[in-house]
């Protein structure tokens, strides 16, 4: 059997192309967009998430500054 008549090549060439009905295709597209919009809305940060993220970023610095200021205050008390 030559390459031209190999069943696997025939399969690629001769198997009919299938597609969804155009009406159904548009419904599926619209549902995909709805799911995408919902996903984007879900991943958009609300004020609580924004606040939490901001706190996480400043937490270490704030606690460090508090510790340093307490240490300085203690030292001042001792030296007075």
């Amino acid at each position: 059997m030559s390459d031209e008549t190999e069943p696997i090549d025939l399969l690629a060439r001769q198997l009919g192309t299938l597609d969804v009905d155009p009406e159904r295709a548009e419904i599926i597209r619209a549902r995909m967009h709805d799911a995408l919009d919902r996903q984007i809305a879900r991943s958009r940060p609300g004020w609580r998430r924004t606040l939490r993220r901001a706190y996480r970023q400043v937490e270490l610095g704030a606690v460090g500054a508090l510790a340093v200021s307490y240490f300085v205050w203690v030292v001042q008390i001792v030296l007075r």
Binding site: P7, L11, L15, G16, L18, R29, M32, H33, Q39
Partner: protein, 185 residues
């Protein structure tokens, strides 16, 4: 891929137009039923919409989509088998040897119709490997990833599927086509 990850709706439209028919053909020929293929196709694109943001920049989109579609089909098959009420229906939907393929009428020629019939008579494992490699032209690495096989296992499965397709074609040649049967009845 970057635009998909950002949630760019136009990029989703491009992917949808490029892969809709390919994925539908794959699912329809695996399940043997248009309405199931349509539902699974919809679920595949919904998954893309939900998970696109988590995909890595080097994701091979074709392989990813076919993997999702195949897994959805496997889940559907499992749930259908567990659903006792649908067992009879499932038996009807399972391709029997040389029963007319539901897609025979879409074939452009007698040879195409014979191929559809022979193809529908193959087992699911043979059909999926042939669809991915021969029809969808996925490279062997992608097809192996979709089917969760090693490269060697894929080659073996493909070779067996090819042999079975040859046998099925010979047998299909001897059985009359759906058109021929219709004309006779």
């Amino acid at each position: 891929m970057a635009r998909l990850r950002r949630g760019d709706a136009t990029a989703f439209d491009v992917v949808y137009d490029r892969f809709r028919a390919r994925l539908f053909g794959f699912l329809a020929r695996l399940s043997g039923r248009r309405e199931i293929a349509e539902d699974l196709l919809q679920e595949t694109f919904m998954r893309l919409a939900v998970r696109a943001g988590d995909l890595s920049p080097d994701t091979r989109l074709a392989a990813w989509l076919f993997t999702v579609a195949r897994n959805l089909h496997l889940s559907y098959r499992r749930s259908a088998i567990l659903d006792a009420e649908r067992l009879d229906q499932l038996a009807l939907a399972t391709p029997e040897a040389f029963a007319p393929s539901p897609f025979e009428s879409t074939a452009a020629s007698e040879l195409g119709a014979r191929l559809e019939r022979a193809f529908a008579a193959l087992g699911e494992r043979d059909r999926e490997v042939l669809l991915l490699v021969a029809v969808e032209r996925l490279d062997h690495a992608d097809a192996a990833a979709v089917l969760e096989l090693s490269a060697d296992a894929l080659r073996q499965r493909l070779s067996r599927a090819r042999a079975r397709l040859e046998e099925a074609l010979v047998l299909a040649e001897r059985s009359p086509s759906a058109d021929h049967r219709r004309r006779r009845s």
